[in-house]
Symmetry: C2
DNA sequence: TGAAATCGTTCACTTAAGTTAAGAAATGAA
DNA sequence: TTCATTTCTTAACTTAAGTGAACGATTTCA
């Protein structure tokens, strides 16, 4: 699961490093020096589609940042998978159990082959010594994340399932392509059959 | 709307100061000196039931912390109020517009007579000079808030309206007493009539 | 105090989601 | 490639939420 060199099976011109630094640039500015330090920390991991990174009941200290690919967070409730979030390029994911050291209540798995940055609080000391701005960046990211999270929640609450699907089509059209329907449907808060029906309904309307 | 002395119309033994310091103690420890500095900043406000603190379209830099009472956040969509959150004792509320200086997309009003701490980023310099731990505390609070927010969102997505109501009954039974039904219902993502029906259904079940 | 507005409930009806089942299509593994 | 599994769709039926309207009860306030 570990890769020494960050390579990409597609022939996109942007390297993983570029993606990472472009992202960081949104929050703080880095010198070349700092960039090199960051790369030297060897935080990159390549993970195969289907891999389960975190299981219910498991304790973990790992936090993830998606450079390429897609992670899925899901619960198993009454034997049924309930997907509550997807994490794609530029998304950060700190499992709840990292903060309180409790066993996780949910699973995290790879929807696609994925390239990640994996960090954990134990590295904090080392990272912080070599890369002091890390803390500031994390805080800015957390604030932004919280704000976006709240807006998403509001949007979810104030919408019908159909409206939620249309919003998704607007805001994250890629997800609808890359994620299996039955995972999408529980993300929208409905059953797979209802999503099928709902899609058929929308298609019917648009035809007139 | 401003009060010099923080008094309380009930005869609870805990003063507003006690409530505040008990809360802060969960995150950081304060010396008597620091407590006095904090009180001297004059951040307390008393606000009447029904007061609208923030309107759609309005810009504001104020952040709120509820010491006593209840705030409500709501949107007006197609002429209809959609309540998405309640903030009661010990809840912090940073309107989205504070961060990005955009006009607000929602309203914030007082469900009850409420005692608040009001801060804004412009005070950051002064507060930080007099009270350096403030920053750390905010960060810890933000992290906890984000975690709780995510769990709430997951719970909402994976539950039916009836289950959401039962959860609310478990987790925030006070809300059901203090908040009008029609505001609660939209918080649960349903119409007032549906909430009435749902409550009747539950009562029917419990009678057997 | 009295009139008006707001609020909660109920009812009848409509619409959409849940459930169960079946079959077609796509995917994966031997 | 073939067989088995998973995934997606469709259908019929059930259940619950949305809608519009009516009716007291409560609250507001002039």
């Amino acid at each position: 699961m570990v890769v020494a060199h960050i390579t990409d099976d597609s022939n996109n011109s942007k390297t993983m490093q570029d993606i990472l630094f472009d992202f960081i640039a949104k929050y703080i500015s880095l010198t070349e020096e700092e960039k090199n330090v960051l790369l030297s920390l060897d935080l990159f991991r390549s993970v195969k589609k289907g891999t389960i990174l975190l299981k219910e009941g498991q304790k973990s200290r790992d936090e993830y940042f998606v450079l390429k690919g897609c992670l899925r967070k899901y619960y198993i409730i009454d034997g049924e998978e309930k997907t509550t979030a997807f994490f794609t390029e530029m998304d950060a994911l700190t499992p709840h159990c990292v903060k309180n050291n409790d066993p996780s209540e949910y699973f995290i798995s790879c929807v696609e082959n994925t390239i990640l940055i994996v960090t954990n609080p134990d590295m904090g000391v080392e990272v912080n010594a070599k890369f002091p701005k890390f803390d500031l960046m994390c805080r800015l990211m957390a604030e932004e994340l919280l704000a976006r999270q709240q807006i998403n929640f509001d949007e979810f609450k104030t919408s019908s399932p159909e409206q939620r699907y249309l919003n998704l089509l607007q805001n994250r059209p890629d997800l609808i392509q890359r994620v299996p329907q039955h995972q999408l449907s529980s993300y929208l808060g409905i059953k797979p059959q209802s999503l099928s029906r709902l899609r058929a309904r929308i298609l019917e309307k648009s035809k007139g």
